[in-house]
Amino acid sequence: MKGNTVKKKALVAAISAIALAGLLAACSSNGGGGSASGGTSPKLTGCSNKYVYPNAPQVSVWGWYPNMKLVVDNFNKLHKDVQICWNNVGQGAAEYTKVQTGISAKKGLPDVVMLEADHLATYEIQGALVDLSKYGADKVKSNFSAGAWNDVSGANGTVYGAPIDGGPIALIYRTDVFKKYGITTPPTTWAEYAADAAKVKAAGGPLFGDFGGNVPALTMALQIQKGAVPFTYSSAKPTNIKIDLDDQNSVDVLNYWADLVKNKEVGTADQFTTDYISGVVGGKYATYVSAAWAPGYLTGAGVGKGASSGVWAVAPIPQWNSSDPVQTNWGGSAFSVTSQATDKKLAAEVALGIYADPASLKDGWTKQIIFPLNQSILKSAAFANNKSTFFSGQTANKDVYIPAENAYKGINYSPLTVYYYAQLQAESTKINQGKETGTQAAANLQANLTKYAKSQGFTVTQ
């Protein structure tokens, strides 16, 4: 009798052990809402949206546009042959961490992923992205400007993303602060910007702007505006890279902001944090040098309501040389197909078709969440003449953003973006803490990036 009980217990223990092991195996094989493998019509579950045609084959998508749910619903309504299963896994860096992990693990990526143009080369060199030129990208090419198309293209006609929006940079400013401190016209050159900053500071006014350490992409864009060419890279020769981070133009831009910081004329707060946004709402900053999508994100964070409503306006980005104006770009995204996609043709159909229908685009640009790159919108009278709510009825597109976009020539991004941004952030922080000049920061960046690129197997020229 006793022996029997022991045996029974042993059996129960053994079975529960096996069951536990089985449970663990089940956990590890299901990567949580990622791309399903095998089967003719994979059933993707755990989406943030509902299917319109549940029997159609499904494609998983990651994206963070604030109006993404509407965009996905619009796509699903229009496509009987394919349905999107969408999730928002984080904005920018938060998503990239997951993308990189998925690439390294060789599983767990969605079929289609939203990426900023500056990150395409990083993932392309790891073989994680599918060349869309084989899947009909040429058919949509004519919808975009040469500069915009250049940002998503590799060498030899390869295309690694379908562009959605761009980020032409402009000077957003507060009319109430400008009026109070007697600035009648917004600064058109960086020299005027600095002079106005000094004027407001001398009059005991608020900070004129902000040099955020956590927006390295913006800092890089401002360096490029002055003529810096941080990286020269082509996917035709993927092991060669030219790094030039301490040229006079890069140094000048860093020193320019370092001086403003030193004089306490601009702030040093990280941007998009709660503290920063509350400062923006409360009138702590007179200007915000930022991209065309900024108003949408600021509105989402609560700017432009209550005390800060009706005080915003926008002007073209200040220039270094007013006789030779240069436009630059921060952010803007594309949809790419990952090499882990089960059905690449279907995934490409989604990447090329999502956020491309008029209803979605209109929702995006009227809320100023996106600055659309699709020429059918850019050239439309409705877009040009739109009176921006955020900018109190200003025709911001016609006055500022469309000319900026048309003059933008594209940026050569490198596969070192993630590491470079982390280093630029660290050096900007040191500038903000007064530990370093712009010249020292640039020299450190050049040394660090050269060392890193070599350790990653690149042949580096300077």
Partner: protein, 318 residues
């Protein structure tokens, strides 16, 4: 694990044939069967232990022996990553920070938790139970939530410091203050937990010892320092080891506060944060594995030194 499988594999045989069972009974002694039952009992633990601890450790060590560049494939590089790690100024800077942090944090925590435990042990009022609960409470708050809360308390816009000191309020996460800002968060979180451990040890002391001491003319201070502290010495050593290991692996609080630290908390702030960023930001999983193992070596050495020292000096406490 293998034994668990064997037990199950036997099941159909046993059910199908009584003869087979008889034969096995003869060939296998009762001791062997008992051993197998024992294995079956520890199997649930053993499987989890193997899958979640031993296997990842082995895999991480395997990874750490390779080098993979963005532009190159994976190459076997032996211990090169370890050489790089121990000459990497960022990693060494992080190691120095956590050691420095441990040297300041542990005494502070120990003194606070010991003092509170002694007071709660000596003073018996209705308030004691409530106080004990309140002091323990921070430990019941998840570390992430705690760090987020402190992030708001430290905020230069919304924090209480702003309201007390006005515009010139110090920012506890500025580069010069971040050490103390974090010290405060960790002490707040853990002192209550250590207090409970010491308090439990204090309650375990035989009260007749106090009576004997009082008869010998000892005052309350002498009872506390000559009797209570020496008798809870083993609990103190336990706390020290916990605190030492925890501090050297410092991760959660600085990682959470990075976003609001305005750049004071760098990607290489502590060794664990550095390894995390190497792996998940820069896709250097190989180097990150080497960094984790290197940190493991540092922790092992530190704990060994500490245990060695306390073992030798253990006698003076009793």
């Amino acid at each position: 694990m293998a034994n668990a499988d064997a037990t199950l594999a036997r099941k159909p045989v046993r059910n199908s044939s009584d003869q087979a069972r008889e034969r096995r009974k003869k060939t296998k002694s009762r001791e062997q069967r008992r051993g197998r039952v024992g294995w079956a009992f520890i199997a649930p633990f053993a499987i989890v232990f193997l899958i979640f601890l031993i296997a990842p450790l082995a895999y991480a060590f395997y990874l750490s022996l390779f080098t993979k560049g963005l532009a190159t494939g994976s190459v076997f590089s032996g211990l090169e990553n370890y050489v790089t790690a121990f000459t990497d100024p960022v990693f060494l800077g992080g190691v120095w920070f956590v050691i420095h942090f441990a040297l300041v944090l542990i005494p502070v925590q120990m003194i606070i938790s010991l003092a509170v435990a002694l007071v709660l042990d000596a003073v018996v009022t209705q308030f004691t139970r409530f106080a004990r609960l309140m002091i323990f409470l921070p430990y019941a708050v998840p570390a992430v939530i705690g760090a987020l809360m402190w992030g708001f308390l430290y905020s230069p816009t919304f924090g209480p410091l702003q309201q007390i000191f006005g515009a010139g309020a110090p920012f506890p996460l500025s580069p010069d203050n971040v050490f103390y800002g974090l010290l405060n968060v960790v002490t707040w979180q853990w002192a209550g937990y250590y207090m409970i451990i010491i308090y439990a040890a204090l309650r375990g002391i035989d009260p007749t010892l106090y009576e004997a001491a009082k008869l010998d003319g000892a005052n309350s201070w002498q009872v506390a320092f000559r009797i209570k502290v020496p008798l809870v010495a083993s609990a103190l050593v336990l706390i020290l080891v916990f605190a030492l290991i925890g501090t050297l692996q410092f991760f959660t609080e600085p990682q959470i506060l990075t976003l609001v630290s305005n750049g004071s908390i760098t990607p290489g702030f502590t060794p664990n944060i550095y390894a995390f960023n190497q792996a998940f930001q820069y896709s250097n999983f190989n180097y990150a594995s080497a960094l984790s193992f290197s940190l493991g070596i540092v922790v092992f050495i530190a704990v060994y030194i500490f245990l060695f020292l306390t073992r030798k000096r253990g006698s003076f406490l009793s």
